[in-house]
C-alpha cells in the first residue's frame, strides 16, 4: 500500500488507475491518527461491552441429556458414604504417621464394592523450567537421583468396569485427599465420591468405565494428579538403577497386608488402566462454610488459557441449579465488585438499553447494572486466569492430555452436623451422578460446544467471535500507523536528500535511489532485532539464576537485574557499530524504528491471540497506547508546546506502567494494598510462571522486548539530549 502511495506521489503524470480498495487504504493511512484514536477507543469500549453482549449458555450436544433421568442415588448409598467419612475421621485411623492406614481403609471400601483397586506410588516432581519446551507436549519429567523412601505419595485408584461396555472409554472422578492432615471437607468429598461409586457398581446403564482417583495431596493436588496421568499416558517401562518406591519397606508392607486379606484377584499392585478418558471431574469440599446458600464453585481454566468444552460446564450448571438447588459460582475478581466507576458504567449501559428498548421493543440487550458489575468482575477474572496460564486446580493436568476436566468445589451452608452432612452428601452425590450419567451418554467426545470462550457468569458466556472484535479493533491501528510512519520517513528523507545533493543526481539515479531507500528499513530492523535479542537473553537468564543454590527471591531478582544490565552493555559494546551508526542518523530514523517496532508488535500480538487470547488482549491494552504514543523525548522537549508536553508525560507514564515488573507491582498494589509488595514477589511470580510452562512468560518476554525497544527509542533521544546539553 505504502509503496503504491509513494509511487502515486512520485510520478504524478501518468495517473494510473487506482483500485478503490487501495484508495481506501491510502485514505486510512493518511488519516492514521484519527483512525487509531477511534479504533483504540472502540476497542476498549467493546471490551467493556462484552458483559452486555454475553449470550446465555445452552447445551449444544443433544446426547448429553442432563437431568432427563431421575437420580438413583438413595439414602442407602449416602449412609455408605457416611460410614466411610466416619471411618476416615476416626482418630484411630490417623495413628500412623505416613497416613497409609487411611489409604488402606479407602482401598478396602472400594474392594468391598467389587471394584478393581490398585495403588500408585509416585515421587513428587518439581516443575522444572525448560527454556525451549513451551507449547511442547508434557514430558515425562526426569526422575531425580536422590529420592529417599520417605518422600513418596500414594494414589489409590479404583476402577469399575462397565458391565456391558467395551472398555474403550473412561470417566475419571478425582478427590484430592491428604492422609496426614485431612480436614473434614476432604473426608466429606471422599464420602460423596464413595456414595456415587457404590451406586455406579450396581447400575446397568454404565457404558464407560469409571475411575475413581484418590489423589494424595500431601505434595500438592496438582502434582499427584499429574503424576498419575503421566503414568497413565506415558509410562516408563524401563526402570533404571535409581531407587524405586517399591524397594521402600513401607510400601511393600502395604501391599502384603492387602494381598492376603482379599479373596479374588481384584487387587493388584500393578498399574491399572481403563480406556481413553472422556472427561474428568475433580471434587472438593471446602472446610469453611458459606453464609447464604450451599454453593458450588466451578474452576475451569487450565494451563495457557485452555478451557474445557463449554458443554461440561453447562451440564454441571444445569444440574446444580435446576435439579439440586445449589448456587453456582465462578471465580470473580472481588475488588471490582465494589468499584463505583464500573457501577456507573453499568448504569449508563442500562439507561442506553432502556432508550433503545423504548425505540424498538425488540432490542433487548440491556442488563441491570448490578449484573453488569458482576459480569465484568467474572469476565476480568476469567481473562486474568486465562492470561496467567497457570491452572486453577488439579483439572489442569487433564487438559494437557486433551481431556476435558473441571474442578467442583462445594461449600456447604451450615456446620456439618449429621443432618446437614447427609443432605450435602445426597445433593452433591446426585450432582456427580447426573454429570457422570450425562457424560456416559456421550457417543462422541466433547466437540459440539465452544472451546474458546470467556465466562461472565455460570450461565453466560462470550464466544470467540464476539471477543475477537474488541481485540481486532484494538490492534487495527498498528499496521496503519506503521505504514504511515514508513511513508513519512521515506518521503521526508527523499526531500532532504533532494536538498542536499545536486538535482541532476536525483534524475540520474532515481531508480537506484528508490531501491536503496526501500531497503533502508533493514537498518532499523537490525536495531530492533538486537534489542529483541537482548530481551531473549534477559528472559533466559532466570533459568541460570535458578540453578544457584540458596538464593532468596529478592537477591535472585537483584542478580537478574544486574545481569540484564550487564548483558545490555556487553551487547552494546560488541554490536556497537550498528547502534552507533544508527545514532548518527537517529534524528531522522526514529520514525522508521518506530514503524518497525510497531509492525513487530503487531505480528507478535496477532500470533499471541491465536495461542492465548487473554494474554494478547491484556498485552494489547498495555502495549498499543505505549507503542502509538512513543516519540523521542528530545523532540517533545524541544517543541515545548503544551501538547507535546502532555505527550511527553503520557509517554513516560505509559512506558513505566507497561514495564512488566512495574505492571505487576501496580496490579498487586491495587489488589492487596501497596504495603506488602516486595521485590522478591516478582521473582516468585515469574518462577511460578515458567514452572507451569506458561505462555505468559514468553509474552512478558515479548512485552519486555517491545518495551525495551520503545524505551530505547525514547531514551536514546534523551541521552542524545543530555549529550547535546553537555556539549553546549
Amino acid at each position: 500500500m505504502a509503496e503504491t502511495k509513494e509511487k502515486s506521489l512520485s510520478d504524478e503524470k501518468p495517473k494510473p488507475r487506482v483500485r478503490p480498495i487501495v484508495r481506501l487504504g491510502i485514505f486510512l493511512i493518511s488519516h492514521s491518527f484519527l483512525v487509531s484514536v477511534v479504533c483504540c477507543t472502540a476497542g476498549v469500549l467493546a471490551l467493556f461491552l462484552l458483559p452486555v453482549l454475553a449470550k446465555n449458555t445452552y447445551i449444544s450436544e443433544n446426547a448429553l441429556m442432563p437431568g432427563s433421568a431421575s437420580p438413583m442415588l438413595s439414602n442407602q448409598h449416602v449412609s455408605d458414604g457416611n460410614r466411610l467419612v466416619k471411618d476416615l475421621t476416626n482418630p484411630n485411623s490417623k495413628s500412623s504417621e505416613t497416613g497409609i492406614e487411611s489409604h488402606k481403609i479407602i482401598a478396602q471400601y472400594m474392594l468391598d464394592l467389587g471394584a478393581e483397586v490398585s495403588f500408585h506410588k509416585f515421587h513428587p516432581q518439581m516443575n522444572q523450567f525448560h527454556p525451549l519446551h513451551f507449547f511442547s507436549s508434557p514430558v515425562s519429567g526426569k526422575i531425580q537421583e536422590n529420592y529417599s523412601c520417605s518422600s513418596y505419595g500414594i494414589n489409590t485408584v479404583g476402577i469399575i468396569r462397565a458391565p456391558r461396555g467395551d472398555g474403550k472409554e473412561a470417566i475419571v472422578l478425582v478427590t484430592p485427599y491428604n492422609a496426614l492432615k485431612s480436614g473434614f471437607g476432604e473426608a466429606l468429598s471422599l464420602g460423596i465420591a464413595y456414595s456415587v461409586f457404590s451406586l455406579l457398581t450396581q447400575v446397568t446403564w454404565l457404558a464407560k468405565d469409571i475411575i475413581w482417583l484418590v489423589a494424595d495431596s500431601q505434595y500438592g493436588e496438582y502434582a499427584a494428579v499429574a503424576a498419575w496421568l503421566r503414568e497413565y499416558q506415558t509410562p516408563k517401562f524401563s526402570s533404571l538403577s535409581t531407587p524405586n518406591a517399591e524397594m521402600c519397606p513401607d510400601v511393600n508392607n502395604l501391599f502384603e497386608l492387602k494381598g492376603h486379606s482379599i479373596s479374588g484377584s481384584k487387587f493388584s499392585n500393578s498399574f491399572r488402566r481403563a480406556g481413553t478418558m472422556a472427561a474428568a471431574l475433580v471434587l472438593k469440599v471446602r472446610d469453611q462454610n458459606e453464609q447464604f446458600e450451599d454453593t458450588i464453585s466451578i474452576y475451569a481454566e487450565a494451563s495457557n488459557g485452555q478451557m474445557p468444552n463449554l458443554d461440561l460446564i453447562n451440564v454441571v450448571n444445569y444440574l446444580a441449579v435446576h435439579r439440586q438447588g445449589l448456587r453456582v459460582n465462578v471465580e470473580k475478581l472481588w475488588p471490582l465488585l465494589n468499584s463505583s466507576w464500573l457501577k456507573s458504567l453499568g448504569e449508563i449501559f442500562e439507561s442506553l438499553a432502556k432508550v433503545a428498548k423504548s425505540l424498538y421493543p425488540k432490542w433487548k440487550f440491556g442488563i441491570p447494572a448490578t449484573e453488569y458489575v458482576e459480569g465484568t468482575a467474572t469476565l476480568a477474572s476469567s481473562l486474568y486466569y486465562q492470561a496467567l496460564g497457570v491452572p486453577t486446580g488439579p483439572h489442569g493436568a487433564f487438559r494437557d492430555y486433551q481431556v476435558d476436566a473441571i474442578t467442583l468445589e462445594i461449600s456447604p451452608k451450615f456446620s456439618l452436623d449429621k443432618v446437614w452432612r447427609n443432605d450435602i452428601l445426597l445433593r452433591g452425590g446426585r450432582l456427580i451422578e447426573g454429570v457422570i450419567r450425562s457424560v456416559n451418554n456421550l457417543l462422541e467426545k466433547f466437540h459440539q460446544s465452544f472451546f474458546l470462550y470467556l465466562l461472565t457468569s455460570p450461565s453466560k458466556f462470550v464466544s470467540v467471535g464476539v471477543y475477537m472484535i474488541a481485540f481486532a479493533l484494538l490492534i487495527a491501528p498498528l499496521p496503519m500507523v506503521a505504514a504511515s510512519l514508513y511513508v513519512d520517513a521515506n518521503s521526508s528523507s527523499n526531500c532532504s536528500k533532494g536538498d542536499s545533493s545536486t538535482p541532476s543526481a536525483i534524475t540520474d539515479t532515481d531508480e537506484h535511489g528508490i531501491a536503496i531507500r526501500s531497503w533502508r528499513w533493514l537498518n532499523s530492523a537490525k536495531l530492533v532485532f538486537i534489542v529483541h535479542l537482548w530481551g531473549a537473553i534477559v528472559s533466559l537468564l532466570p533459568y541460570f539464576i535458578s540453578q544457584i543454590p540458596d538464593c532468596s527471591p529478592t537477591t535472585s531478582f537483584m542478580i537478574w537485574v544486574l545481569l540484564s544490565i550487564l548483558s545490555l552493555l556487553t551487547l552494546n559494546s560488541v554490536l556497537a557499530s550498528p547502534l552507533a551508526c544508527a545514532k548518527a542518523t537517529q534524528e531522522k530514523e526514529w520514525a522508521l524504528v518506530k514503524s518497525v517496532t510497531i509492525s513487530s508488535v503487531f505480528i507478535g500480538l496477532g500470533l499471541m491471540s491465536v495461542i492465548n487470547f487473554a494474554t494478547a488482549e491484556i498485552g494489547a491494552l498495555l502495549m498499543v497506547p505505549m507503542c502509538l504514543l512513543a516519540r523521542p523525548l528530545k523532540l517533545d522537549v524541544r517543541a515545548g508546546t503544551l501538547r507535546s508536553f502532555c505527550r511527553l508525560i503520557c509517554n513516560l507514564v505509559l512506558g513505566h506502567i507497561a514495564f512488566p515488573p512495574a505492571a505487576f507491582f501496580l496490579l498487586k498494589g491495587m489488589l492487596d494494598g501497596f504495603g506488602n509488595a516486595n521485590v522478591g514477589d516478582f521473582w516468585m511470580w515469574v518462577e511460578s510462571l515458567w514452572a507451569w510452562n506458561s505462555a505468559t512468560y514468553l509474552f512478558i518476554d515479548l512485552t519486555w522486548r517491545a518495551h525495551a525497544v520503545v524505551a530505547h527509542q525514547s531514551c536514546m533521544m534523551f541521552w542524545n539530549l543530555d549529550v547535546l546539553v553537555l556539549s553546549l
Binding site: 495517473k15 468391598d112 467395551d166 499416558q233 517401562f237 481413553t276 486433551q402
Partner: protein, 660 residues
C-alpha cells in the same frame, strides 16, 4: 455343481437335473446308513469366582456330505450348506460379542475360555478351498451373504482396508485365511433371531427354550458364535459333510437384587441360583430332534480344590447342594501339572417332560473362594502419548500366579523359553512405524533381535490394506513383565474418509496373544457315552491358549464438518466476484467512458447529479477531476451528506421516542 453356480442357463433343464441328482443322492444315504444328519443340544453351567455364572449353550448339527444328500436336508440348515458349497469354505467362524471377557477372574486357560472369549463386536475368519486369486472374491461374497443372513453390517469387511491375511500366527494357520473384525458393531436380538433360526427346534423346545432375551442381554458378557467345518473338500474327491457348531456364551449375575441386601460379612458366600432364577424359564423336555440333549455343571480345578473335592469324596459334598440328582459324574483325567481335578455333573434332559420340567439349582452353604486358571501371561494393551500427532501402542504382558507352578513343571533343562505369538492388525489411518518396535523384559530394554524370534510385517497402504504385524516372542520362563511398544502417526484423513461418528474416535481392533506351547484341553475319564457328546469331545481337543486384548480408541483430529459448506460458499463468492469483474472489463470501452465523464463534468449540472457522478466515479475507481478535487474535498461533501442522513435519522428516532 458347476451348473448350479450358473443358474441363468436353462433353468428348466437344471431343475430337472437337480431333482434327479437329489433323488439319487437320497437313495445313496439310505444305502450307506452311517452318515445321518445329527443334531445335539447341550448346556454347560460353570460358577465363576466373582459371584457370577457362566452358561455355555452348544448346539451342533452335522450335515451329511453333499454328494450323498444333494440339496435335501432333514436337520441341517439349508442356508449354511448352500453357503459352504458356493464359497467352498473349509472352515469359518463368526462371532458376535458384547462385553468383555474378564481374563483375570473368569480364567483363560481352559478350553471354554480360550475358544469362547472373543473381542467385542464382530469377528469373522474363514479358510477357503479355492485358488489364491479367487479368495478375495469369495471373501467379499461371503461377507455380503453373512451380512444378510445375520442382520449385521458384516459387509463392511468387504473392502480390502478392513480385512487381513494372517500368515502364520493366527491359529488355523494356512495361507487361505482371511480375518476381519468390526469392533464397534452393536450386538442385539436382531442378530440372535437369525442365529436361532438355524436350529431345528428354534427356541420353541429343548434347551434353547432357556434363551430368554432380557435375561441374556442383562448379562456381563454375551458371545454368540457360529463355527463351520467342512470336513472334506470336494477337490480331493471325498466329501464327508459339514459340521455346524453354534455356541452362545453368557456370563450372568445370579439374583443381583438379593446380593445388595446381604451384609458385608455374608458377601463372600457365592449366590445360590437355579435355572429358573437365572433365565426365568425351565426346560420342559428335549428338542425331539436332538440326539444327546444334556445339561452339565462344571466345577473347575480351582473350585474343586477349594471345596476339598477329590476323586473319593465328590459324591458326598458338604459345601453345596444340588436340587436335582446328576445322572452321571465325570472326573477329569489327572494331568501332570495339577493335583486337583475338574468335576462334571451331567443331567439328561430326556427324562423330563412338560409336567415335570427340568430345573437345576445350586445352593452354597459355606463361602468358597478360588481362582480360575489363567493364561501364562496376562496381556493388556493401551495407548501412550498425548496430542494429535503421535502416539504409541503398548502391549504389556504380566506373569500370572499360574505361571510359576507351570514353569517349574515345564522347565526340566535350565534354559526354558516361553513362546508368545502376537497378531496385531492396525487400520491404515494409524500409521505404524515398525522400526520403532521396542521390547522391555522385566523393565529392562532389550535388543529386538534377542527377544523376537520371528516377525512378519506387512505395512499398511493408504485406503488399500491395513497394517499387519505378526511377532513371535521368545521370553525367558521367569519373566515377570514384558512390554512391546510401537509408535504410530495419527493419520490426517480427507473429509470423505471419516466414518459417520468421526468424533467418537477410531478403533484399533484387538490384538491376539497366543501361547503355542500351551494347549488347553480337558480330558474326562473314558466312557462310552462320551463319544456321543460333541461338547465333551470338543473339550478334549487340544486348542491353543489365546487371549484377546482390549479394543483401543484413537481420537484423531476431526475437522469441523460444516467446513466443506463454508469452503463451497467462499469459493462460490470468489468465483462470482471474479466472473463479475471479468465481464465488467470485457464489456466496457475505456476511452468512450472517459470522454463521457469529461463531457459530464463540463456540463456543470446541479449539485446532486454532480455528487452522484462523483460517487459513481469513486466506485469505479478513477478520479473525476484530479486537479481540482483532492480526496479531502470529496470526503467533505460526503460528510455533509452523512450529516444530513444523521439529521433525518435523529428526527425519526426522536419522533419514535416521543410518540411511542
Amino acid at each position: 455343481m458347476v451348473l448350479l453356480q450358473r443358474p441363468h442357463i436353462l433353468l428348466l433343464l437344471i431343475g430337472t437335473h437337480q431333482f434327479l441328482q437329489c433323488w439319487i443322492a437320497f437313495g445313496s444315504v439310505n444305502e450307506e446308513g452311517q452318515k445321518q444328519a445329527e443334531f445335539s443340544e447341550e448346556l454347560l453351567l460353570k460358577p465363576l469366582p466373582d459371584h457370577k455364572l457362566l452358561a455355555h449353550f452348544h448346539f451342533q448339527s452335522s450335515g451329511p456330505p453333499s454328494t450323498s444328500n444333494g440339496c435335501h436336508h432333514h436337520l441341517f440348515p439349508k442356508a449354511i450348506s448352500q453357503l459352504v458349497q458356493k464359497f467352498r469354505i473349509k472352515e469359518m467362524e463368526l462371532s458376535f460379542t458384547k462385553g468383555r471377557w474378564n481374563y483375570e477372574s473368569w480364567g483363560g486357560f481352559d478350553p471354554l475360555s480360550s475358544s469362547n472369549a472373543k473381542p467385542p463386536g464382530v469377528e469373522l475368519w474363514a479358510v477357503f478351498d479355492v485358488p489364491q486369486h479367487h479368495i478375495d472374491a469369495s471373501w467379499k461374497n461371503l461377507t455380503h451373504t453373512l451380512s444378510g443372513l445375520f442382520c449385521a453390517s458384516i459387509n463392511f469387511l468387504e473392502s480390502t482396508a478392513t480385512y487381513s491375511t494372517p500368515e502364520w500366527s493366527f491359529p488355523p494357520a494356512s495361507g487361505n485365511v482371511r480375518y476381519g473384525t468390526l469392533p464397534c458393531e452393536a450386538v442385539c436380538t436382531e442378530n440372535l433371531t437369525p442365529w436361532l433360526k438355524l436350529l431345528p427346534c428354534r427356541d420353541k423346545a429343548g434347551i434353547a427354550l432357556l434363551l430368554d432375551r432380557p435375561s441374556l442381554y442383562r448379562g456381563f458378557y454375551h458371545s454368540q458364535q457360529l463355527h463351520l467345518t467342512s470336513t472334506g473338500s470336494s477337490s480331493e474327491g471325498i466329501d464327508s459333510g459339514i459340521i455346524l457348531e453354534q455356541t452362545l456364551t453368557v456370563v450372568l449375575q445370579p439374583n443381583s437384587e438379593m446380593a445388595i441386601e446381604v451384609h458385608a460379612s455374608e458377601k463372600h458366600i457365592q449366590p445360590s441360583w437355579s435355572l429358573s432364577s437365572i433365565f426365568g424359564k425351565q426346560v420342559s423336555g428335549r428338542c425331539v430332534l436332538a440326539k444327546p440333549s444334556s445339561v452339565y455343571l462344571l466345577l473347575d480345578r480351582g473350585l474343586s480344590a477349594a471345596n476339598g473335592l477329590t476323586s473319593e469324596n465328590f459324591w458326598s459334598n458338604p459345601s453345596f447342594e444340588l436340587s436335582a440328582n446328576p445322572d452321571r459324574i465325570f472326573l477329569e483325567e489327572s494331568s501332570s501339572h495339577s493335583k486337583s481335578l475338574s468335576i462334571l455333573y451331567m443331567f439328561q434332559v430326556e427324562k423330563y417332560c412338560e409336567s415335570e420340567p427340568f430345573d437345576i439349582g445350586l445352593m452354597w452353604k459355606v463361602p468358597v473362594a478360588w481362582l480360575c486358571q489363567q493364561t501364562p501371561l496376562h496381556a493388556s494393551r493401551f495407548l501412550m502419548g498425548s496430542g494429535n500427532e503421535r502416539a504409541a501402542i503398548a502391549i504389556s504382558l504380566k506373569s500370572t500366579q499360574f505361571t510359576e507352578g507351570f514353569m517349574s513343571a515345564n522347565s526340566k533343562d535350565g534354559s526354558c523359553e516361553l513362546r508368545v505369538d502376537v497378531f496385531q492388525v492396525v487400520p491404515w489411518y494409524v500409521k505404524v512405524y515398525f522400526h520403532s518396535l521396542r521390547v522391555f523384559v522385566d523393565q529392562q530394554p532389550r535388543a529386538v533381535s534377542d527377544i523376537i524370534e520371528k516377525i512378519h510385517v506387512s505395512p499398511s497402504k493408504d485406503k488399500m490394506s491395513p497394517g499387519v504385524m505378526e511377532v513371535v516372542l521368545k521370553l525367558p520362563c521367569r519373566v515377570n513383565t514384558a512390554a512391546l511398544t510401537i509408535e504410530f502417526d495419527k493419520g490426517f484423513l480427507r473429509i470423505d474418509e471419516y466414518l459417520p461418528d468421526a468424533n467418537q474416535g477410531f478403533d484399533i481392533p484387538s490384538a491376539i496373544i497366543s501361547f503355542p506351547n500351551f494347549h488347553a484341553s480337558m480330558v474326562f475319564l473314558e466312557d462310552d457315552s462320551l463319544n456321543k457328546s460333541p461338547l465333551l469331545s470338543k473339550f478334549q481337543e487340544k486348542c491353543p491358549v489365546m487371549s484377546y486384548t482390549e479394543v483401543l480408541l484413537v481420537p484423531l483430529t476431526t475437522p469441523d464438518f460444516s467446513m466443506p459448506y463454508n469452503v463451497i460458499t467462499i469459493t462460490c463468492t470468489v468465483f462470482a466476484l471474479y466472473f463479475g469483474s471479468v465481464l465488467n472489463v470485457l464489456q466496457r470501452s475505456v476511452a468512450e467512458e472517459e470522454r463521457f465523464l469529461k463531457a459530464k463534468a463540463a456540463k456543470k449540472t446541479g449539485r446532486l447529479p454532480l455528487l452522484l457522478s462523483k460517487l459513481s466515479a469513486k466506485l469505479r475507481g478513477r478520479r473525476l477531476e484530479p486537479l481540482h478535487s483532492p480526496p479531502s474535498s470529496s470526503s467533505f461533501i460526503n460528510s455533509k451528506l452523512v450529516l444530513k442522513v444523521i439529521l433525518v435519522a435523529g428526527l425519526a428516532v426522536g419522533w419514535q421516542y416521543f410518540f411511542s
